[in-house]
């Protein structure tokens, strides 16, 4: 099934013609209306007319997370604020959030991209979709919501949490499709088992899972426990939100070439890699108006495939995300940079400068524990003082990271010291 059969099956040559045309418009637009890109192009001596064909993309500079931070809040925008119809934001790397703005058309393109994906994995207007991603500044909830409504399916905007209620409504309303993190799906399945129920006895048939890395093994486990078919979804808030999914063939995620131009590069050298080679995904947005991004470094490691899919779609595909090129962690679907943790800890004078982040998966849910040394200079006589300190640190971390972390205060000098680059993360999770 197709949402937009003409576009989705369009011959590659025609798609490239669209891309080329849109690329020229993008570069023009960015140069003329985005103060950030104007400056960047001028520094590099690039004029919009230098960018004619798709090969010229390599002449363009990369855009990185630090650019968004430095140009917060509106420096990346290429339209006046009056044309912005929505903001989304995620916590930034060192305090300032990453802000994304959308025009009306941006929202439509986003919804249609995901809409094509959902239809490609078999969602129809008959489906009831339980959207168990966070609603709000996080893009997951609203992204799926708009796509579900565009299809004409029934959206159940339940958001995250309250697992007993999730299962109750899933059963009572005859939910047929669900969107959430894969770890939450497993958690929910095991929660149901503990209640003496099984998700196999519900009408649920399709799950679209993402916002965190997962594996074929996890897919198998989900399918065995729930009896559904599990699909991968990809997207980042900077690019809009959840955008691309697998189709029923499940051999990669279709990247809609009429809206996005992708490359895979060597994250160290920045050089473009060939088909089948593992590298960092770089995306140029061809249709975004409010905040166009040129050669956006996603930090996600994948492999690109351009051959036509056996489903009939001609757009390039990326394989399951294999990891990160930077130190970003994904905890319960929330992006966390170790630098954010450090930033918070350093603001608390009673704590020392040495810390360790330990990640584990307990009953299918991520748990983050931060061991941090007590500053040896503080005067402590009562356990309550440590308990308060721990609570204060946990509250600050929660407000900055958007996800809970357990803080364990340890003796000064007990966290391993490193000469050279410190290793501050122990990830025990099996994904």
């Amino acid at each position: 099934m197709f949402w937009n059969p003409t576009i989705e099956r369009m011959p590659k040559k025609d798609l490239e013609k669209i891309q080329e045309k849109k690329l020229r418009a993008l570069v023009n637009n960015a140069y003329n209306y985005s103060p950030f890109y104007r400056k960047k192009f001028d520094e590099l001596g690039i004029k919009p007319e230098n960018i004619r064909s798709l090969e010229d993309v390599e002449k363009l500079p990369f855009t990185r997370k630090v650019d968004l931070r430095e140009n917060y809040p509106f420096g990346m925008f290429a339209v006046p604020l009056s044309q912005i119809v929505r903001f989304h934001a995620s916590s930034g790397t060192t305090g300032k959030p990453t802000l994304v703005g959308y025009t009306e058309s941006d929202i439509k393109v986003w919804a249609e991209s995901l809409c094509r994906g959902l239809v490609s994995c078999g969602v129809t207007h008959e489906d009831v979709i339980q959207i168990a991603y966070g609603y709000g500044l996080f893009t997951g909830g609203l992204g799926f919501h708009y796509a579900a409504e565009m299809i004409g399916a029934t959206a159940l905007p339940i958001s995250t949490g309250n697992t007993a209620r999730q299962i109750e409504l899933m059963r009572d309303l005859g939910v047929t499709a669900i969107a959430c993190t894969p770890s939450y799906m497993l958690y929910m399945a095991e929660f149901a088992e503990k209640m003496g129920a099984s998700l196999k006895d519900t009408k649920l048939r399709i799950g679209i899972f993402g916002a965190e890395p997962w594996s074929e093994e996890t897919r198998k486990r989900i399918e065995e426990k729930t009896g559904i078919t599990a699909y991968d979804v990809y997207g980042t808030s900077e690019l809009s939100g959840p955008l691309f999914t697998e189709c029923t063939e499940r051999s990669g995620l279709h990247i809609w070439a009429d809206h996005f131009l992708i490359e895979v590069i060597d994250p160290k050298t920045g050089e473009r890699l060939g088909e089948g080679e593992k590298g960092e995904l770089v995306v140029t947005t061809l249709s975004k108006e409010a905040m166009p991004l040129i050669r956006w470094r996603t930090g996600d490691i994948t492999v690109m495939e351009t051959e036509k899919c056996s489903c009939g779609r001609t757009h390039p595909r990326i394989m399951r995300i294999l990891g990160r090129s930077d130190d970003m962690l994904i905890i319960r679907g929330v992006n966390v940079f170790p630098s954010q943790v450090e930033h918070v800890l350093m603001q608390i004078p009673e704590l020392g400068e040495h810390y360790m982040i330990i990640l584990d998966r307990v009953e299918n849910l991520d748990e983050m524990t931060i061991q941090v040394e007590l500053n040896e200079k503080v005067q402590i006589d009562k356990p309550a003082e440590i308990i308060n300190l721990k609570r204060r640190a946990e509250e600050k971390l929660k407000s900055v990271l958007g996800v809970h972390a357990n803080v364990e205060i340890v003796n000064p000098g007990t966290i391993q010291r490193f000469e050279g680059k410190a290793k501050r993360i122990i990830d025990k999770r099996k994904i």
């Binding site: 402590i380 006589d381 356990p383 309550a384 340890v410 003796n411």
Partner: protein, 137 residues
């Protein structure tokens, strides 16, 4: 008032021996000792014969150490003594945050108090004639 040392320790095997080893190698003698435990960690409180030396040695060993002044009361080692004192403090509205006691050859029974209002407690205890004013040896 006497000096008490407090040390933050994780609740892990070997932590107590790490603290006591520092004291042992300097020939420091413990007079009173208690651990307030709170899950993952605890606070060791102790009274020693050479407070300054113990403080320095623990600090050098990397521990988070504090020295506090606490009230000490010297009473006969017989029934009812702690009752009398705690009642007097309670009646005067002084809160006792923690208390521990020890006996030794040199002293009678010594009871160590940490209270909400040191000055008020001192007055009361002095009036009762139980406030310990000596030095811990």
């Amino acid at each position: 008032m006497i000096k008490q040392i407090s040390v933050f320790v994780e609740n892990k095997p070997g932590r107590l021996s790490a603290v006591t080893n520092v004291l042992f190698t300097r020939g420091i003698n413990l007079r009173a000792f208690m651990i307030a435990d709170a899950g993952d960690f605890g606070i060791i409180r102790m009274v020693v014969d050479k407070t300054n030396e113990a403080y320095k040695a623990l600090k050098e060993a990397g521990f988070t150490v504090a020295v506090n002044e606490v009230l000490a009361v010297e009473v006969e080692d017989k029934p009812g003594e702690l009752f009398k004192i705690s009642k007097a403090l309670g009646d005067a509205g002084v809160n006792i945050e923690y208390v521990y006691a020890f006996t030794s050859e040199k002293h009678k029974a010594l009871i160590i108090f940490r209270v909400s209002d040191n000055e008020k407690a001192k007055q009361i205890l002095e009036k009762m004639g139980v406030l310990f004013k000596g030095e811990i040896e």
